[in-house]
């Protein structure tokens, strides 16, 4: 998956390497701790598919409610998951961190296309000049 993304957006390579290292350093501690556990990574994967209650998650991962609450709490602190209590049910979904990532990704995508289109502008300007010159020659 990762290889494909680089292929799809090859010129984004630099931007990814530069930007991501900077921003991740800052959040590394919390994310690192949160992602160091297989169950928590599983929970993130699960929430990537759809939102779920703590009870559902506990069931899926064969855990006690208390155990799952602890995992979700750690993910929540890292900003990877957000939770909302409606009535007696606490629903978990991917957190603000994830939205920031999406925003950052869209920005990088925008930069890639912006520079690509800037180059395209130069190419078409050359072609237009050429056409003009050729047109003049034909008329003469």
């Amino acid at each position: 998956m990762r290889a494909r993304n680089l292929l799809l957006h090859p010129a984004a390579l630099c931007a990814i390497l530069n930007l991501m290292v900077q921003s991740y350093r800052v959040r590394l501690d919390a994310s690192f701790a949160a992602l160091s556990d297989a169950t928590r990574r599983g929970v993130l994967e699960q929430l990537g598919r759809c939102d779920a209650s703590i009870t559902t998650l506990a069931g899926k991962f064969h855990m006690t409610l208390t155990g799952m609450k602890k995992h979700v709490g750690i993910l929540e602190q890292a900003g990877l998951v957000s939770t909302e209590k409606v009535g007696r049910v606490r629903t978990c979904k991917l957190g603000p961190h994830r939205l920031e990532e999406e925003k950052a990704w869209l920005e990088r995508h925008q930069q890639l296309w912006e520079s690509r289109f800037d180059e395209l502008d130069k190419v078409v300007a050359k072609l237009k000049r050429k056409e003009k010159v050729n047109g003049r020659r034909k008329r003469e």
Partner: protein, 168 residues
């Protein structure tokens, strides 16, 4: 050259990128040329290779084959420094000069997005609209997250270096 003066200064934030739905992205930009010229730049390899890979990144386009007809293949090979070349390929699904191109992106292990490029000419300029339609919500999410992963990998590598340096 009258084109230089007229518009360039007034246009701002010229390229927009938007997530249209759970599995679709849209990119738009107005290019200062008629659609037939933009279409040429998109379909003739000798022109295409001049702009598709932006130079700032140290990536080079080793080869570029575009068989622009319905069912025809394209294949782009890139190289970054001394690394292994990376191939990028797919098929054209729709070819309607000078207003529309649709192609697949097949380089992944499972099916990639389908890209639609629409060229709308207005007053000698062309609005380019690109739609990238991913097969599922998960595949677009994963594409977005994979940039994150590569950053993570490098961070971890640096952490590794740091830790092993300390251990010595």
């Amino acid at each position: 050259m009258d084109a230089g003066k007229e518009s360039e200064t007034t246009v701002k934030s010229r390229t927009t990128v938007e997530r249209k739905s759970e599995r679709e992205l849209a990119v738009t930009r107005t290019i200062n040329a008629p659609a037939r010229i933009v279409y040429d730049a998109w379909t003739k390899p000798e022109l295409f290779r001049q702009w598709w890979v932006t130079k700032s990144c140290g990536l080079t386009l080793v080869s570029c084959d575009l068989d622009v007809r319905v069912g025809g293949q394209y294949r782009l090979v890139f190289r970054h420094g001394d690394s292994q070349p990376m191939a990028f390929f797919g098929r054209y699904l729709e070819v309607i000069p000078p207003s529309r191109l649709v192609w697949t992106n097949e380089e992944g292990e499972d099916s990639g997005p389908v890209t639609t490029a629409i060229f709308e000419e207005k007053g000698g300029k062309t609005l380019v609209i690109l739609h990238e339609l991913y097969p599922t919500k998960e595949s677009l999410d994963a594409a977005m997250a994979s940039g994150e992963k590569s950053g993570m990998d490098e961070t971890f590598e640096q952490l590794d270096e740091l830790v092993s340096a300390h251990a010595r």
